[in-house]
Structures are given as C-alpha cells and as structure tokens.
C-alpha cells in the first residue's frame, strides 16, 4: 500500500472530472453554482494553506489535508459540512495521519488570530466532532499519495534538478484544482515538469519518450493547469495566498452566504 500506489485506496478512488464538478443537490437548492462551488474550494484551500503556515507543518500534511477536503465535497454538501470548520479539521486529521499531530487548541487559537470574520471561528469540541464526521465521510481511507516525491525522483532521473523550485511551486498550485482526485500523482508531477521545462526552454522530448507514459495525458493535465492559471488570472509562482487576483472576497462571501440557513 504505502509503497504501491496501484494497490492503494487512493488509486481505487480516482474519479473522472465530471464526477467532481457536481454541485450537491442540497447546495444547488440554495442557489449555489458550479463556479461558486469551485471558488469556495480554491478559497478554502488557501485557508488551509495559511493556517498551516501558522502551525508549521510540512508540505505533505497540507497536501493531504487539501485532498481530504476535496474528497469530502465529492460526497457531502457545503451546507451540511461547513467548509469553515471542515478546513481546520482536515488539517487536524491530516496531521495525525502523517504522524505530526497538531493540537486542536493551536488551530483554534490561530484561526482566531487569522480571521476577523467570526464565522471562521470554532471551538476545540467542534473540531473533534467534525473529525469523526470526516473519518466517516472519507470512508476511513486516509492514506494519500502526492506528486512531491515522484517529482524529485523524476527530476533527478532527468538531470533537471534546476527545475525543482519552479515545478515544486506548480505542484503546490495543482492543489487548488481537483487533479489529485483524478490523476495518479506521478502523472501530475510529470505535467508540472513538462510545464517547467517548456517555460525554461529545456529539451525533454527524448526523456519523456523513454518514460513510456501516455504523453497525451501528461499534456492534457499541463493544459488544464495552464487554463486554470489563465482563468483565475493567477500569477503563478507568487506564493499561495495572495496570487489570486481573479477571486475577490466579495465573490467568496456571496457564495458562502447562500449556504447560510436563512432565519
């Protein structure tokens, strides 16, 4: 399992894009659009990222937390599972699964510090209750594979370790999309290497040919990533949180507001 992606639950759970781009009926009833659904997920990914900077966990913990977060919303509604509570809880659960536990009280503390908006605040007991609900929602599958390790190995193999920084940043940005739920992590890594090599004008055709992977899939993932940057007018490689010019707080708040039960 841990060594073999092909026998893992992660591999067995990979889904098609069109299964992910579905607004849950309950959210739909409240008028949430697919575009807003995606925006909320991007925004909340950033939220996890920022929170993680405060509690100082490794990249892989963040990536696992985001993967949990995105998996949960392929099954559950934003209305029933408030993303403002689900995000810190995903980080909490991921930190346990990745053997670098962060205490719930620390998360509660930093959320208070970080967010002026009261709606983001929560208590320890909220996180602990949500932890159990998440375990259920995730069907108790907690092992997640990420592109980071294959990325380093592949760059080493290609003799292009000078692309590490740029492709690592690209991999980070892929978590704003649902790629981790759709493609094997090494394919995402390859797509990021491909983009990086094109940007830096590296000749990689021979190397990619030797890998005997389906280059069409690699290129399609690369195009998706570039389209994503384009669409959200993201300035790539600018660091996570501040780079989303296309996403205003108003849009996010309007979307989240739809989900709040009306009195």
């Amino acid at each position: 399992m841990a060594a073999n992606f092909w026998t893992s639950s992660h591999y067995k759970q990979l889904v098609e894009q069109d299964k992910i781009d579905v607004v849950h009926p309950i959210d739909k009833e409240r008028g949430l659009t697919l575009e807003e659904f995606k925006l909320i997920k991007i925004h909340m990914t950033n939220h996890i990222w920022r929170l993680a900077q405060h509690v100082k966990v490794r990249q892989r913990v963040i990536a696992t937390a985001v993967t949990y977060f995105r998996r949960v919303y392929t099954r559950k509604s934003l209305t029933e599972y408030d993303p403002r509570l689900v995000t810190p809880t995903c980080l909490y659960l991921a930190s346990k699964a990745e053997e670098s536990t962060v205490q719930a009280r620390l998360l509660v503390f930093y959320i208070k510090k970080m967010c002026s908006d009261e709606k983001y605040r929560c208590e320890i007991k909220d996180i602990l209750e949500m932890e159990m609900k998440l375990l259920e929602a995730l069907d108790y599958y907690l092992v997640v594979f990420h592109p980071y390790r294959p990325l380093l190995q592949l760059l080493q193999d290609a003799g292009m370790t000078d692309l590490t920084h740029i492709s690592w940043g690209l991999v980070n940005d892929t978590y704003k999309m649902d790629l981790i739920l759709i493609h094997p992590p090494y394919m995402i890594a390859l797509a990021c290497i491909y983009i990086a090599s094109v940007l830096k004008d590296k000749e990689t055709t021979a190397w990619f040919e030797e890998l005997r992977v389906d280059m069409n899939v690699v290129k399609n993932i690369a195009i998706e990533i570039l389209d994503f940057y384009d669409f959200y007018r993201v300035e790539a490689f600018k660091g996570m949180a501040e780079s989303f010019k296309g996403i205003s707080d108003e849009k996010i708040n309007a979307a989240l507001h739809k989900l709040t039960p009306k009195p």
């Binding site: 053997e99 159990m132 599958y141 092992v143």
Partner: protein, 471 residues
C-alpha cells in the same frame, strides 16, 4: 432491543440508546481491555459469524480520535492479506464520540497456545504446527514489509490463529496500533517513544538506536520461534520502568547470556549506538564469550531450524535475515512441510489438540459497564466455535490488562467469590485451560447451553477435519 439477546439491551447496562449499527451485532461479552478501550466479542445477526469489536474511548484531554486508532484504521484500510487480521468495519458513535473497529474474530493466539502446552499439556507443540505458524507469520510479515509497514509490536499475544471454520489454523497478525509506514516518515521513527514489548525488543533498540528498520520485527519473530519451540520466552528480562526510555540492563544481559556479547567486528554499526558508545553500563566488557543458543532451544547446531533461528537472532540488523529470505529457508523445504491449517497436522496418528477458546466476560455491555443484574444466560457465548463451553466464560475481573487488539492477553480467572455472577449466569466453572472437566453443578442448572456444544469437550475434538489442503 430486537430479539432481547442483544446484550446492551438485555443486560440493562445503559444500552437503551444503542446506535443503529450496533444492532446488527449480538454482543457476547468482553474479551479484553486496556488504557484506550475495550474489546468485545460479538456475532453478526445475519451471518452469525464472530467479530471482535475494539472500542476506542474518546480521550478526555481534547485530543480527539487517538493516534493509535488513526494508525490502525489507515493501515488496515489499505492492506489485505490472508495472514493479516481483517478490518471488517469501522463505526462511530457520535453521541459519546467513541470509535469501534470490527475485526474477524480469531479464537486463538500464540500466547494462549504456548501457555496451554506449557501449563496444561506439558508437551511441546508439534513440529508441523510450529513450522506452519512460523511460515504464515513470516508470510504476513513479508507482505507488510514489502509495503513499507513495520509492525513494531510483534509478540505471541498479537499473533492470532483462527479457530474452527473455513480458515481454521490460519495465522493472522494483529494489533497495528504501533505500526508505521517507514518509507518516508515526516518525523524520525523514534519520535513515537519506545516500542515493542521488552522481551521481543531488538538489541539495536535496547542500545538506544533511532534509525531502526523492519529488522526489529524479524528479531521478534526469532524470539517467538524460540518460544514456540521451548514454550517459554527466550529473553525474559525484567523491565526497568521509568522515563523516558530507560536503559534495559537486564534484558540485554539475558540476550548476551544466550548469544554472547556483541562486538563491533561482527556488528560494525554497534559502536554508534548510544548506550554502547557511552558504556555507562559496562556493556563493552565481554561477559559472555559465545553463543549457546542451540542448547537453550534444544536444537542441533547443524539443523535447519537452528540455522534459521540464529539468522533471525543475528545482532547486526543489516545482516539479520529478512522475512522474504526466511520464507525461502531450507527449514521450510524439509519434512514436515508447512500447511495452511497450522492446528491440524495431516500425518496420520498425530494427535489433534483442541485449544481452548478465549474467555469471555459476559456481564459487560458495549459501554463497558458491568451489569448488576445477572446477564442473560448467554447461549451465544457457548457457541463460540471450537470453544469448550466450560472454559469459555469467566466472571469479570478486577484488574484490567493491556489489550493488544484481538490478541489481548487472556483474561486471568478472577476470583469467583468476588462476583457471584458465574453461577447465576450459568457458567459451568472456571477452567481457563480448557482441560476436560466434569460438568459443574452450575452448568447443570442451565443444561440447554451445554447441549449445544459438541460432545468432544475434551482434547479429541472430532469437529476438526482430518485432511486439509496444503500450500
């Protein structure tokens, strides 16, 4: 609550708001307990198969689901192999924030099998059984190690053996509460504190090593192999309690006495191990010249069994035999060949031993509360496959023992006088060893529960098939 046999409902111990999922099980009783929870034996209402349910309590200090439970769930959700215990289901009770793991139930474990031979039968475990148990243990371990999982807490009570049924005599490695994926840990493996029960702890750990590997599991297998042969723990050191990670002088001395003192010529990285380097305890002084392992385990120096054992108990973890290599060892290629049903040798004339089943405390409900009312005459408890009715039930005991999942230590028979429950509950009498006994008066008070048992209450269990397929 349903048919009234459901224990939580039936025993009046606060089970009135049992979650729906629990109603698919009939609780038989408690089979173990520890600091992080309880283990129950239950039967599925549908298929009547036996399930062990491990209940994790929510910790009081706001830490949420215990890391032990998380580890166990995340590993067991990924792996599937005949010689590894099967996680059948996970349930959550949101009301009291408790978590339940349901496993296929195994009647026996190596701790009990060894103890039964030592204390009741006074005879060694037959060669076929030893070899089959060891082969299957290695087979499961090889699967774990090739998936980058170190078990870290192998000991006889964690090695389960299936009782009567389709999987009879099949070994199941259990208790993954300490298991770790070691391929790319974010934190050093030693961060989790001391692991592995001291008697089975590898010398590199005892000497303060931090970068240990799957070889620690193989050391434990070596200790277990020797114990299967001699019926007593090979290195029975007295544990030094204290914080944190005290030096286990006696354990090391026990090892050195049998294997001789280790030295840097044979074990080059020895010099880097903290406790050896500092030599505060004078372990560099050679006290024991050479190995006398063979005489401890009564094996000929030239025998394949001894060769394999000595390779498992190799000091240098880098030279220690791996599970994959061990499976290829000559020992497993000579007669008797190992088989899938370790409990039933196929040589004609070999005696089949009817091992006793685990004792069950039938007076406890899923909340872990012992009922004041006498429990229902638990017919279900008596119907545990392969069990000897008279021995399958013991009264609740006062002192909790650490549980190791399904392989928890057998609950020691508590004083019957302490709880006058046994007779009320229709317990035939205490006989944890399961040797043939006369039916007690109490049993006769509830003859219906004994009638369900096969007549072979003793050791000649006619229920075991005579022929089983081999690998």
């Amino acid at each position: 609550m349903g048919d009234g046999r459901a224990i939580a409902g039936g025993s009046g111990g606060g089970g009135s708001n049992r979650p729906a999922w629990l109603q698919q099980y009939d609780l038989v009783g408690k089979i173990g307990e520890g600091t992080y929870g309880l283990v129950f034996l239950a039967k599925t209402k549908l298929r009547k198969s036996c399930i062990a349910i491990k209940k994790f309590k929510q910790s009081k200090d706001g830490d949420g689901v215990s890391p032990t439970a998380i580890r166990e769930i995340m590993l067991l959700r990924e792996i599937s192999q005949e010689n590894v215990v099967k996680l059948v289901n996970v349930h959550i009770n949101h009301a009291d924030m408790s978590l339940y793991l349901a496993f296929d139930y195994a009647d026996h474990d190596l701790y009990e099998i060894i103890r039964y031979h030592r204390e009741k039968l006074n005879q060694p475990i037959n060669q076929y059984t030893v070899k089959s148990l060891l082969w299957q243990l290695l087979n499961g371990l090889n699967y774990l190690h090739s998936n980058w999982i170190i078990h870290r807490d192998l000991k006889p009570s964690n090695i389960l053996v299936m009782g009567e049924g389709e999987e009879q005599g099949v070994v199941k490695i259990a208790d993954f509460g300490l298991a770790r994926i070691y391929q790319a840990p974010l934190k050093p493996l030693s961060d989790n504190g001391v692991v592995v029960t001291i008697w089975y702890r590898a010398p590199e750990l005892l000497l303060g090593g931090k970068h240990y590997t799957s070889a620690v599991d193989m050391w434990a297998v070596g200790c277990i192999f020797a114990e299967l042969l001699t019926l007593k723990p090979l290195f029975q050191g007295a544990e030094v309690k204290g914080t944190p990670n005290p030096f286990q002088a006696d354990q090391l001395d026990k090892i050195f006495k049998v294997l001789g003192n280790p030295n840097p010529e044979k074990w080059p990285t020895l010099s880097y191990l903290p406790h050896y380097q500092s030599d505060q305890h004078h372990i560099q002084t050679v006290k024991y010249e050479s190995s006398c392992l063979h005489s401890y385990v009564h094996l000929a120096l030239k025998s394949p069994a001894y060769d394999l054992l000595s390779k498992m108990l190799e000091y240098d973890p880098q030279k220690r035999i791996t599970a994959a290599q061990a499976l290829e060892h000559e020992y497993f290629r000579i007669d008797p060949l190992p088989g899938r049903n370790a409990l039933v040798p196929i040589q004609p004339g070999e005696k089949i031993i009817n091992y006793p089943a685990r004792p069950v405390d039938t007076s406890t409900d899923f909340e872990g509360t012992t009922s004041i009312q006498p429990p229902q005459p638990v017919s279900a408890a008596v119907a545990i496959p392969g069990s000897v009715a008279a021995s399958s039930v013991v009264p609740p005991r006062a002192v909790p023992r650490p549980i190791s999942m399904l392989g928890m230590q057998r609950m020691p028979p508590a004083s019957m006088a302490a709880f006058n429950i046994a007779s009320q509950a229709g317990i035939a009498g205490l006989n944890p060893g399961g040797i043939p006994i006369q039916r007690g008066a109490a049993a006769q008070a509830h003859p219906q529960q004994l009638r369900r048992k096969d007549p072979g209450m003793g050791m000649q269990n006619t229920g075991y098939p005579q022929q089983k397929r081999r690998f």
